[in-house]
Amino acid sequence: MIRYISARLLATVPVVFGVTIAVFSMLYLIPGDPVKMMLSEFQTSPEQIARMRAQLHLNDPFFVQYGRFVWNGLHGNLGTSIRDDRPVTQEIFEVLPQTVQLAVAALALSSLLGMALGILAALRQNSWVDIGAMTLATLGISMPSFWLGLILILIFSLRLELLPAAGGGDLPHLIMPAVALGLGAAAIIARLTRSSMLDILRTEFVTTARAKGLTGRTVVLRHALLNALIPTITIFGLQFGTLLTGTVFIETVFGRPGLGRLAIQAILNKDFPLVQGSVLIFALGYVVVNLLVDIVYAVVDPRIRYQ
C-alpha cells in the first residue's frame, strides 16, 4: 500500500513540474509588454518603464526567471496583480473557498442524482424508465450549463422570486449555481453507473447469489451496488476537474465571486500574473484531487495496486 502511494506520489512530481513550466511560459508567449499594461492607466515615461522592468527582474534569462517563479511560488508568492496591485495569492485565496464550495456541492448533487438515475435505469434495462432516463441523461450532457443557469434565474429569481440571482456566500446563493453546474455531471455519472451496474449484474457471483435463493433486493443491495460503485469513484476525479473549471461559466452567470470568475476577469483585464496564478491553482487542485482519488480507489479496491 505504502509502496503504491509513494510511487503514485512520485509520478506526480514531473506533472507538477511540467504544469509550472507551461504556466510560466504563458507570460512569454503573450503579445504585448506586461510592464506597459501595468502602468497603462497612467501616463508613463520610458524611464519609469525601465525601472519597473528592473524591479520585476524581467531582464533576466528565462530559466533564472522560471527558477524565481517556482521559488517564490513555493513561498506562497505568485506575484502582484496588475489591476488591483495586490498579491495574487491573496486574491486567489479570498475567492477560492467559494469555488471549492460550489464544485463540492455540484459533485454531491450530481453523484446522488446520477447514481440514483443510473441504478434505476440498470435495474429496469430496456424498459421505458431506462430509455427515458438515458434520453434525459443525453439531453443533460448536451445542455450548456451557463444556459441552464440563465433559465434557472429566469424561473426561480425573476418569475417565482424564490432564490437570489447573484452573489455568493450563503446557502440560497449556492443552490442554483450548484444545480446548473451539477446537472451535466449527473448525466455522465448516470450513464456510467448504469453500464457498470449492468456489467456487475451479468457477472457470475450475482447469478450465484440469485441461485443461492437470495431475493432480488438483497442481491442488489449486498453485491451489485457496492461493486458497481467502485468504478464510479474513478470518474469523481475527472468530474471534479470538469466541475472545477465549469465554475468559470457558472460564476460568470451568477455573478459569484470565485476563482473561475477571477480568471475570466484577469484574462479580459490582461492581468497576466493573476491569469498565471489562477490557472496554476486550478491545475494543481485537479492534480491533487486525482492523486487522492487514486489513493482512495487503491484502498477500496486492492486489485488496482497490482496493475
Binding site: E41, Q43, R83, L112, P164, A166, Q265, K270
Partner: protein
C-alpha cells in the same frame, strides 16, 4: 427495485430541504438601519486623488469632504471652507477653513492638511488620477495661518472653484494616509459622515456611520451624524441581475448605468420603486474620432459618419429613459448650443454622397472601397465585465448600413486605456463627467494627446488657445461665448460624434427617502431614511 426507488426519493428529499432552507433565508430581509446599493462596477481605487474613474466618486461623497460644495443647482457653497476669496488677478484662491472639522482619525482639517493633499496630487512619484488635471497650472499652497490656506496658480484659473467642490480634490487625512500605505486605495480616511469599515474586493464595500460627526453639511436637512448605520456598496456588473436585486429587496438602490431600456420602462410602473433621474454635466456619451488614423483622418469620412449616424434612434432605443439626443461635445445641461443640434441632421443619402465624392464606392458585400481597399475602422470598446456598452453594436450596425465595416475591439479597462493613449484605434466611445465646460480641455487640448483624455488625438493651436482663454476668463457670459466658439470648430471639423446626453439614473425602493445628488449627479446618502 425498492432500493432504487428509495434512493431516488432520498435525493428528492435532500433537494427539497435545500430549497426550503433557501426560501426561509430569503424572507429574512435586512433591517432598516442598513442600506445596500448595487453598483455596476468596482472602483479602481477609493483614493479620491488617485482615481481616474467616475465610479469612485459615486461612493466617496459620503466618506470624504471637499473645500466647497456644488449642488444640483450648480451654486458653489461653503463646505470644509467657510469662506473663499479669489485674488484680483484670478490666480490665487484663499480659503478660510472651519475650525471644527476633523478627519475620522482625529487629525484636524487645517491649512496644513489642505496643502499636504494638493502637494500630494502634483508629486511626480504619486499616481494621481483626475485630480491632476483639476490642479493644472498649480504653483503651490501657502499656509497663511492654521485655518487659512492660499492656493496659487501660474495663470488665472476660473474652473478651479468648481473643481475644488468636486470629488477629485476631496481631502484625505495626511496622518492616516502616510501610515496606511497602499491601503489608501481600499480605506481612505476622510472627514465625512461615513468611514470605510470593510472592503471585500470584487464583492462589496461597507461604510459605517461616523457617530462623532456634528456638523451640518450644505445639502443636509440636519446637523450631526447620518441616519442610516451602514451602507453596503455591492458590485453587480450584470444590469439584469442588478435589477433583480432591487426588485427582490436584496438591494434598496441600484445604479441605472447601461440598464436595458425595456427594463427601465418596466421598472417605472412598479409601485415599490422610484427612479431618481438627474442630468450628468460634462461631455455626453461620445464617440471621439481619431484624426490621426485612416479612415477617420479624412474630414469627408468623418462628416459622412456624422450624417449617417442616427443619434435619435440610439437615444430612443437602448438609452430610452437614460438620456436625450446629444448635439455637441458638451451636454446641453452644461452649455446650451441649439444651433449645433442641427449641424448634422440624420441624412444617410448625404452621407453616401460624401463618401462617393471622396472615392469610397460601394463594393462587394456592401462594403465601400477605394483603390481596392475596403472602408474599415475600429471602435475601441470598454468592457466592464458584462459585454460591450449598448451603443456600440448600434453604431456598428448603422455604419454597416453606410457601407463602413466597423470592427469592435472589446476590451477591459487597462488595455482600452493603453490603446487610447497610443491612438491605436479609430477612437473609443466615452463619457466625461466634468462640472465645468473646461472639460473640453481634457478632451481636445493637444497637451492631452497620449494622456487623459484627448483620444481623438486632435491638435489645433487655435482650439488650444481658446481653451486657455476659457480657463482664464471669469466673466460667465464671455466664458460661454468662448466655449460655444470652441464647440463650433469641433463640430465643423467633425472631431467627435456626440451620442447621448446622459442622466444619472438610480432605481430606489419607495421606502427609501432622502436620497440627494450633487452637481455631478452622484448620490449622497447621509440624509437617507428607510421606512417600512
Amino acid at each position: 427495485m425498492g432500493v432504487a426507488r428509495r434512493a431516488g426519493v432520498g435525493a428528492g428529499i435532500v433537494l427539497l430541504a435545500v430549497a426550503l432552507a433557501a426560501v426561509g433565508a430569503v424572507t429574512a430581509a435586512p433591517s432598516g438601519t442598513m442600506l445596500t446599493v448595487g453598483l455596476d462596477q468596482e472602483p479602481p481605487t477609493l483614493d479620491p486623488e488617485a482615481s481616474p474613474s467616475a465610479v469612485t466618486f459615486q461612493i466617496i461623497p459620503d466618506v470624504t469632504e471637499s473645500l466647497l460644495y456644488q449642488g444640483l443647482d450648480g451654486k458653489i457653497q461653503p463646505w470644509l471652507a467657510s469662506a473663499y476669496k479669489v485674488s484680483p488677478d484670478g490666480k490665487s484662491f484663499t480659503f478660510t477653513l472651519r475650525a471644527d472639522a476633523k478627519f475620522t482619525d482625529g487629525t484636524p482639517v487645517n491649512a496644513e492638511a489642505v496643502k499636504w493633499n494638493f502637494d500630494r496630487v502634483v508629486n511626480p512619484n504619486y499616481k494621481a488620477g483626475g485630480s491632476l488635471s483639476a490642479l493644472s497650472g498649480y504653483a503651490g499652497s501657502t499656509v497663511v495661518d492654521d485655518h487659512t490656506v492660499r492656493i496659487d496658480f501660474k495663470a488665472p484659473y476660473a474652473p478651479f472653484l468648481s473643481y475644488a467642490a468636486g470629488g477629485t480634490l476631496a481631502l484625505v487625512s495626511p496622518k492616516a494616509t502616510q501610515t496606511q500605505g497602499s491601503d489608501v486605495n481600499l480605506k481612505p480616511v476622510g472627514s465625512g459622515q461615513y468611514v470605510v469599515s470593510e472592503y471585500v474586493p470584487k464583492d462589496h464595500i461597507t461604510l459605517t456611520r461616523n457617530a462623532d460627526y456634528d456638523r451640518k453639511p450644505p445639502w443636509s436637512d440636519h446637523q450631526g451624524p447620518a441616519y442610516v448605520n451602514t451602507i453596503v456598496w455591492k458590485f453587480i456588473p450584470e444590469a439584469g441581475t442588478r435589477v433583480t436585486t432591487v426588485e427582490s429587496g436584496e438591494t434598496q438602490m441600484i445604479s441605472g448605468l447601461s440598464l436595458p431600456a425595456a427594463t427601465l420602462s418596466h421598472l417605472a410602473t412598479e409601485r415599490t420603486l422610484r427612479i431618481d433621474r438627474n442630468p450628468y454635466p460634462g461631455a455626453p456619451r461620445i464617440w471621439v474620432l481619431n484624426v490621426r488614423m485612416a479612415p477617420t483622418n479624412d474630414l469627408k469620412v468623418r462628416q459622412a459618419i456624422e450624417y449617417g449616424i442616427n443619434r435619435a434612434a440610439i437615444a430612443d432605443s437602448v438609452f430610452k429613459g437614460l438620456g436625450t439626443t446629444a448635439c455637441a461635445p458638451l451636454t446641453q445641461q452644461t452649455l446650451k448650443t441649439p444651433s449645433l443640434c442641427n449641424a448634422y441632421p440624420y441624412d444617410p443619402k448625404k452621407a453616401a454622397q460624401l463618401l462617393d465624392e471622396d472615392g469610397w464606392k460601394m463594393g462587394p458585400n456592401n462594403i465601400r472601397q477605394k483603390d481596392g481597399k475596403p472602408l474599415t475602422l475600429t471602435i475601441n470598446s470598454i468592457n466592464y465585465g458584462s459585454g460591450n456598452l449598448p451603443e456600440i453594436e448600434l453604431l456598428q450596425g448603422q455604419l454597416l448600413a453606410l457601407g463602413i465595416d466597423a470592427r469592435i475591439k472589446s476590451q477591459a479597462r487597462p488595455p482600452w486605456y493603453e490603446d487610447n493613449y497610443h491612438c491605436a484605434t479609430n477612437g473609443p466611445v466615452l463619457f466625461l463627467r466634468s462640472t465645468d465646460p473646461d472639460g473640453l480641455f481634457a478632451l481636445f487640448d493637444s497637451a492631452n494627446i497620449g494622456g487623459n483624455f484627448n483620444w481623438a488625438c486632435y491638435s489645433n493651436p487655435e482650439v488650444d488657445k481658446l481653451l486657455q482663454t476659457g480657463r482664464e476668463t471669469y466673466d460667465p457670459a464671455k466664458r460661454s461665448a468662448i466655449y460655444r466658439q470652441i464647440e463650433k470648430i469641433l463640430v465643423d471639423q467633425a472631431i467627435s460624434v456626440p451620442l447621448v446626453d446622459e442622466y444619472s439614473v438610480w432605481i430606489v425602493r419607495s421606502n427609501v427617502t432622502g436620497t440627494k445628488y450633487n452637481f455631478s449627479g452622484y448620490p449622497i446618502l447621509t440624509d437617507v431614511k428607510i421606512g417600512k
